[in-house]
Symmetry: none
Amino acid sequence: MFTILLADDEERIRRLVSDFLRRDGYVVLQAADGGQAMELIDQRLNSIDLIILDVMMPVYDGWSVLRHIRSKNKDVPVMMLTARTEDTDEVFGFDLGADDYITKPFSPIVLSARVRAIEKRRHQHDEGIYQSGALSINEVRREVCVEGKTVELTPKEYELLIYFKNNQSIAASRENILNAVWGYDYFGDLRTVDTHVKKLRAKLGPCGTMIETVRGFGYRFEGAKT
Amino acid sequence: MFTILLADDEERIRRLVSDFLRRDGYVVLQAADGGQAMELIDQRLNSIDLIILDVMMPVYDGWSVLRHIRSKNKDVPVMMLTARTEDTDEVFGFDLGADDYITKPFSPIVLSARVRAIEKRRHQHDEGIYQSGALSINEVRREVCVEGKTVELTPKEYELLIYFKNNQSIAASRENILNAVWGYDYFGDLRTVDTHVKKLRAKLGPCGTMIETVRGFGYRFEGAKT
DNA sequence: AATTATGTGAACACAGTGTGACAGATTTGC
DNA sequence: GCAAATCTGTCACACTGTGTTCACATAATT
């Protein structure tokens, strides 16, 4: 989920832009002036992924809101909207830590492209994190989350999950799995795999169904259909 | 066969490019505007292997067509043609899922090189997938689809189908089949094969007729006539 | 029409899988 | 270093799915 805070005093623009962004799958919070923007930022800055600020707003202008955000030492990306004037504005904005800058009037297409660019930049920053549906695996932190909540896995369960993640959509026989996870020199019961799969499924809760049984063969891990 | 849909409003470019591609052995469908492109895509997206879209087109522009394609959740490769402008366009295109990007004016040689690159990428991706008519067998996933819908096969049914696939157009006696699928040391009733063939035919639905009876001998699997 | 080959459905034994319990191995906390 | 807690691998049981055979129906061949 990618949440965007949109602050602009023109209702027409808010509606146009938010409709467009929603159609692209983003969640959009709206603020009609700098005051409302400040409030929303104070309340839920941690769950906001991008902030779009109009420069000219009642109560507090965009620069003030931007300054407020940066004073909180949060590096959430901020995009500024401003009427076409001299470039000084632009320089000013970048100095305060704006990430992008769009002059009014703009086409929603361009805006949405810039938003995507920022989202992408952010996601490649998340390198090493696997995500599929409600399941996310952070291999650096060695942490697995389902629906945002951390799930405690034992070492074997974790390694098994990593194996599945690295072999998505591939039917894996019990032998394949045993060789890969337990090592090629391990000669144990094939059904050990079953037991661990069972436990893993249980711990993954709603994501447990991502491990499919291929009857008479083994298992197959399926990333969420998007 | 590799089919390319080429959408560009300039007739001169269409002819130049399609001549060039045809000489390389590709089949080229042409669309003179975004509307025609949309129509062709709706009608026969499944038989198209690559789409080349001009960005500036009447009716619908290239981005809209691209969005339409992706909304169908098809990962057919798309190549965008655009006049040299700002990079934002490019970012936009890649975000929407364009696979390649060529700025006008371009040389047909370059275009055809890029097309070959995409074709290559695609084909190594298709490795291990058998397709014939409405039947497709993904041996990596150990999954069989008929008319796009997954068909659940038991292990024996699956192995039998794989045997048939590997022995297309060859009359196979029941003994051949029994030896190959059940193993040379299996001594069961020859008619067991019949039962499995019957079940397999039923599960394959419209593709069941691909398994032909060779009376007095055995069976023969026939891939779809193209 | 008689004969032979194949299609079809039912019955039954058995193999594959999910599941919980348990004992030994390993790790953790003190 | 010791006890407690946790993890791991195996097993047994229940249940469902699968393979095989058989008997009979239907179709093809003579």
